[in-house]
Symmetry: C2
Subunit: 188 residues, 2 copies
């Protein structure tokens, strides 16, 4: 499996419950694809519906030309949870949750496209699909949605306090975790 976690294998998770929770906890993903041997990594928006990840490409040009052609992609979702301060620089780390999904996306049309856009909008801004004006046929035509199966995916998680080497335990260095959180403010 290409998404198997090789470095720090103890941080790898392969159950869909863990993967889904990480995908559902945010809407920003980074989509990787290849054009003439050059990798591109583009931030875009996603929502999961069952076993499928839907992507909506605002940076459509380069990205979506490659989609639906069967070219392989990698979609990565990462949440930063904390900065881990250890006794030694070497044992400093970051707490995070990430998911990698690999596969070949397919273009989405018709009712599935409508439902996918509904899912993406309500994932980013709950309730807005019903609240705002829904897409016209013309708008739908200029919006691209692709679907990526979750068949090949894995999660990687680091959490908890620093892990210091035994020889460092008595050093007089303050340790701990600085929590990080993406906070939503009030509408302005």
């Amino acid at each position: 499996m290409q998404t198997r976690v090789k470095r720090h294998p103890e941080r790898g998770h392969y159950d869909r419950e863990t993967v889904d929770a990480i995908l559902d906890a945010g809407f920003l993903c980074h989509l990787g694809f290849v054009v003439d041997g050059q990798p591109y990594v583009i931030p875009t928006l996603h929502a999961r519906v069952g076993d499928v990840l839907y992507l909506h490409g605002s940076p459509a040009s380069r990205m979506l030309k490659e989609m639906g052609k069967g070219a392989p992609v990698c979609v990565t979702v990462t949440h930063l949870d904390g900065i881990v301060l250890a006794k030694s620089v070497f044992n400093h780390s970051v707490n995070y949750r990430s998911v990698l999904v690999m596969g070949a996306p397919r273009s989405v049309e018709g009712d599935e496209k409508w439902d996918a856009l509904h899912a993406i909008v309500d994932h980013i801004a709950p309730g807005r699909w019903e609240e705002a004006r829904q897409p016209s046929d013309k708008e739908l035509k200029t919006t691209e949605v692709v679907a990526l199966s979750l068949e090949e995916c894995s999660a990687k998680i680091r959490s908890g306090p620093p892990v210091d080497s035994p020889q460092d335990r008595d050093l007089d260095v303050p340790i701990g975790v600085i929590p990080l959180e993406l906070v939503r403010g009030d509408v302005a």
Copy 2:
């Protein structure tokens, strides 16, 4: 230039002041590389020093094997700033700042490696390089750092309120921006 912004070209920025500010505003990047035609996108940590972006690979295995071989990579840094609520679903958007850097990284050794690690650690947790125990020779050997020139880079930014279509302006739909911010809490 491969990093030229094609979709929403008005959001593209090519001055180093803008690019540097986005790179310096965070320490999480997504590194894209290709193995046997398959793109991989791996979250990792960065710091900028002058015209160079240093990357420290904790997910070292797959990633760093490809580095220093002259293989092309793409490093993307994205900050989410807000959710943009418009009168129509179609004009909903996200405020963000992102940078793409492309090139072929080189391995970093010796004094440059020491200075790069210093920069990365102090970028993530200011002051910790002096406060914590600094790396031993053995630890340095098991840490990989690569450098990527900022010669080929671009920024893309969306900011400000929703932009509604003229025909939607009188719709009775609340609009605005939900601010998003990655907040650091107190050490615990």
